[in-house]
Symmetry: C2
Subunit: 478 residues, 2 copies
C-alpha cells in the first residue's frame, strides 16, 4: 500500500489531540516495535500515542484517515503472532492507559471496562465480588482489548468457552474516525448481522475497540485437580472424550508430554509430577480441574474422575484438593511458555486446533516429521479443546549452540507448512487462540481457501476502505 | 432493484438442473408466498424448487446470478417476521427435502445435518443416543437451517445459549453460486474473521446454508419444574436475577401474565396454574425448570429454588417433579402462540430483548401506552434472557368483532414504534430470537443507527453484489 509519510505538520496535528503523549523518533519505546514473537517481524513506528479516551482515538483515527497514515493498535504487547507489530510504520496507538473497570451490573452480571484493563486485574477484582470472568488465557497480563481482538481462549475454555462467548457489547472507532456501538448488555439477540462477532477476533484490523461490556458468572465455590500420568500420549488422549460423555464437565483439561514437563520443572526448580510409576516411564500427562458449588459435588467429580482415568489406562492419579496442592500441580503447566523463553535461544510455535479425537494423530505426525529437522520439539495444549501448542526450539540460552537464525527459520517454515497441511487434512484450523497476526497469514490462506479469503478481504475494505488499520495482518499480505 | 423477469427459457435452464421439481405459475403451493406472519407481506414467487443437494443449489444460484433473478430460501416457513417471503417474486428454493441427519461424531460430540432437518427430529434422534441438542425454540417443526438463519433462541437459552452457540461449521452456497465451507468441527478457533458468525442470524441474505455441523451435549439425566404465582409482574421479575446469583442455573426461566395464561388454559380446556392464592389474585407467574445429572442434585435445586421464591415474595410455589406434572406445567406455556393464532382475528407481535432487570419496566410501559389503543395486549417471555413476546390482538376468531385490518395495522405500527424506542432507551435490541426479516427493518435501522446499518449493507454487497438473495430483508428496505 502507498501510505503517506508522517510529516512534522501531521505530528503537530496529533499533538493538538493528545498533547505530550505524542512521542516520535528516538523517544519511542522500542517495545512498541514488536510483540512477544519478534520472529514475526519488528519495526519502529514513526509516532506512538498512549491514548486516553474514545474521543481521542476517534480524532486520531480521523486525522490518520484523512492523511492516509497507517495505524496499529496495541495493548500489553503479549501477542504471539506479530499482531500488533507496526509493519508499515506510521502511528501506534497504545491502550494501556485506558485501564478503568468502569461499572459492574450485579443483577445483569456484566461489567463495562476500558480496553487497557489487564485480564488479571479484572479477574481478581471480579472475584472480590464473588464473580468469575471465565476466560483464562495463560498470559494474565494481556489487556482485555487484546483478548477480545484475538478471541483468546485459555485453560477454562473447555468448560466455559472463549473470550467471544463473554463479549456482550463494545464501542468501536472505525478507521474513518466514526464511533459505533455494537451489541447490547443482553444475553441473546437476533437483530441484524452480528457485527460484534466480526470484530471479536479481528485483531485490530477492522476498528479500535474502546470499551467492552463483558459477561461474568458467579464464581464456583470450590475446585480441585487431578494429575494423571500415562505411558504415552495416545493413551492420554483416548481418555479425553470420556469426561464429557460421562457428564463430568472439567473446568480445565490439559495435556503435555514428558520433555516439556521436565524442562518446566527444571526451570522452576521443583518437581511435582511423577516421572515413573512402578518402573514405567511416564510419557504424557493430563491435568484436569473440576469446579463445583459445594464440596459434595466436587468430591463426586473427583471420585468419578479417578475411576474413569484408571479404568482408561492411566498409570496413576494424584488428587490435588487443597489450595497448596492445586497451586503446585498447576505451577509447572503455567510456566511452560516462560520456561521456553528463558531456556532456549530461538523458538517458533504453532497453535492449531483439531477435533479432540485427532490430537494424538496430530502429535504423532509432528514427532515423525520433526525427525527430519535439527530443532527440538515440545508439545502441550488444551486437550479438551483439541488446541495444541507445538514449540520448535533450538539451542540453550546463551550457550551459543543454536543453529543460525536463518537456518532455523527455513527449517521451521518447512516444518510448519507440513503441520498446517496436516491440520487442514484433519478438519482443523490454523489457530485455536493465538490468532493469525502477521506470522500466519499464508497458512490461513491455504487453510480456508481463496473464496473465503476474498470475502474476508472485501469485509476488511468495508470497514477500512484505505486499508490503514493494522496493515498486513489476518487476511492481507503486504 | 431492477431484476429480470423469469422467462420460459430461464425455467427450462432450471429444469435442466432440478427436473420436475421446478414448479411454476398456478402449480405453485401458495404456502410458499409467506411465513406464519402474512401481516408482514405475502407474494407469490414465479418459480419454486424443492432442492436436494448443495450442487443443485449452487447450479440454481449461478443461473439466477447470471440472469439477475431474485432468490428466496425457505425451510418450514414457520418464521414470524416475513423472513422467507419472496417480496420481489423470482425463485423460491425450499430445503425441506434436504432432511438427512448425515452423521454423528460421538467422541467430538457433533452432528452433521442437512438444513431441512426439523428441530424436533434432531432433538428426538439425539436423545436416543443420550445426547441433547440444546436450543429449544417454541416452534419444534422449524428446520435447523431456519433456526441457524435466525439464531433461534428458545426456552433453554437462559442456561445453554442460542443456536449461534451450537453451530460449529457449515457449507454455504454464495449468491454467485460459489461454495464455501465455514468453521470446523472444533470447539474454539481464532483463525481470521468469523464468517460463520456473520452467516448465523443473517436470515438467508448472505448465502444458502446447505449443511450444518452442530454441537451436542450429553443429555441431563433429570429435570423438574417450579410453578410460581405472584401478585404482579414486578414481584416476579425481581426474583429473576436471584437464581443465577445463588448458583442455581435454571434450564428455563419463563414469565407470563394472567391474561395469556387464562386464554391459553381455555384453549387447552385444562387449568393447572392457580388463579388466586389465599384470596390474592395471581397477576403473573414464573415457570422454572432445573436440570441435573442425578436426583440428589436436582432435589437440592428444587429445595433452594422453593425457598428462594417464597422469600422473594411469591404467593405460592408448586413443584412439578414427575413427567406428567412437568408436562402439565408446560402445556399452557407451550400453547401460548397456538392459542393466540386460534382465538383472535388479527395479531402482531414484538420480540424485543432488554437487560433482565428491565423486563418489568418495559412491560409496565407497554401496559401504560396500550391504554391509548383499542387492541388487547398479551405478554409473556423468557424472563431469564430479558426476551419478551408482546402480542397486540384484536377480535375473536370468526366473531366479526375485530377492528378493520387497516386500522389495526395503523394502531399497531404506532404502538410498536413507541415500544422499539423504549427498547433502545433501555439498552435493548429489536429481536431476541425471531430476527428482523421483512417486518422489522425500519425498527432495526432506528435501533442501531446509520453507521451500523451502512456497514451491514456493505457487507451484504460483499456476499451478494447483485442483491439477488432474499431482497428487502434485515438491513435493506426495498
Amino acid at each position: 500500500m502507498a501510505y503517506n509519510q508522517v510529516t512534522p505538520e501531521f505530528v503537530e496535528e496529533l499533538k493538538k489531540i493528545c498533547g505530550t503523549r505524542v512521542i516520535t523518533g528516538a523517544d519511542i519505546n522500542p517495545d512498541y516495535s514488536h510483540d512477544e514473537m519478534p520472529i514475526y517481524g519488528s519495526k519502529m513506528p514513526d509516532v506512538t500515542i498512549d491514548v486516553q479516551s474514545t474521543e481521542e482515538i476517534a480524532a486520531v483515527m480521523k486525522a490518520c484517515y484523512e492523511n492516509n497514515i497507517p495505524v496499529t493498535v496495541r495493548g500489553a504487547g503479549t501477542g504471539l503472532v506479530g499482531g500488533c507489530t507496526p509493519v508499515c510504520g506510521g502511528v501506534v496507538i497504545c491502550t494501556m492507559k485506558m485501564k478503568n473497570i468502569i461499572e459492574y451490573d450485579f443483577d445483569n452480571l456484566v461489567v463495562r471496562v476500558q480496553p487497557g484493563v489487564l485480564l488479571n486485574d479484572l479477574a481478581q477484582d471480579a472475584l472480590t465480588h464473588g464473580l468469575m470472568y471465565c476466560p483464562d488465557p495463560g498470559e494474565k497480563f494481556a489487556t482485555l482489548g487484546g483478548n477480545v481482538s484475538t478471541n483468546a481462549g485459555g485453560m477454562r475454555a473447555v468448560k466455559y468457552g472463549s473470550t467471544r462467548d463473554y463479549v456482550r457489547a463494545m464501542t468501536v472507532v472505525l478507521p474513518t474516525g466514526e464511533v459505533v456501538k455494537l451489541g447490547a448488555p443482553v444475553s441473546k439477540t437476533s437483530s441484524g448481522y452480528s457485527l460484534i462477532n466480526l470484530l471479536i477476533g479481528s485483531e485490530g484490523t477492522l476498528g479500535v475497540i474502546t470499551e467492552i461490556t463483558l459477561k461474568l458468572i458467579p464464581a464456583p465455590k470450590c475446585t480441585a485437580s487431578l494429575v494423571v500420568p500415562y505411558e504415552n500420549l495416545v493413551d492420554a488422549i483416548k481418555t479425553v472424550p470420556l469426561f464429557k460423555k460421562n457428564h463430568m464437565n472439567p473446568q480445565a483439561l490439559e495435556f503435555f508430554e514428558r520433555p516439556i514437563l521436565i524442562s518446566s520443572e527444571e526451570f522452576l526448580g521443583k518437581a511435582v509430577f511423577p516421572r515413573t510409576v512402578e518402573g514405567v516411564e511416564c510419557g504424557a500427562y493430563l491435568l484436569v480441574t473440576f469446579d463445583a458449588n459445594n464440596e459434595d459435588e466436587l468430591a463426586a467429580y473427583l471420585e468419578e474422575g479417578v475411576n474413569l482415568v484408571l479404568e482408561a489406562g492411566a498409570l496413576d492419579v494424584l488428587v490435588a484438593d487443597t489450595p497448596a496442592k492445586i497451586k503446585d500441580a498447576w505451577a509447572a503447566r503455567s510456566a511452560f511458555l516462560e520456561g521456553i523463553e528463558e531456556q532456549v535461544e530461538y523458538y517458533d510455535e504453532c497453535d492449531v486446533v483439531v477435533p479432540v479425537t485427532k490430537v494424538a494423530e496430530f502429535t504423532l505426525y509432528c514427532e515423525q516429521i520433526a525427525a527430519d529437522y535439527q530443532f527440538e520439539l515440545k508439545m502441550f495444549g488444551h486437550a479438551g479443546d483439541g488446541n495444541l501448542h507445538i514449540y520448535a526450539t533450538t539451542g540453550h540460552k546463551g550457550a551459543n549452540d543454536a543453529m543460525p537464525m536463518g537456518e532455523f527459520e527455513d527449517q521451521v517454515d518447512d516444518f510448519m507448512t507440513k503441520l498446517y497441511a496436516k491440520t487442514t487434512e484433519l478438519d482443523g484450523q490454523i489457530s485455536g487462540e493465538h490468532a493469525i497476526g502477521y506470522g500466519k497469514v499464508k497458512y490461513l490462506m491455504d487453510n480456508v481457501g481463496p473464496v473465503n479469503i476474498r470475502l474476508q478481504q472485501e469485509i476488511k475494505k468495508v470497514f477500512d476502505p484505505k486499508l490503514i488499520l493494522n496493515p498486513g495482518k489476518v487476511c492481507y499480505k503486504l
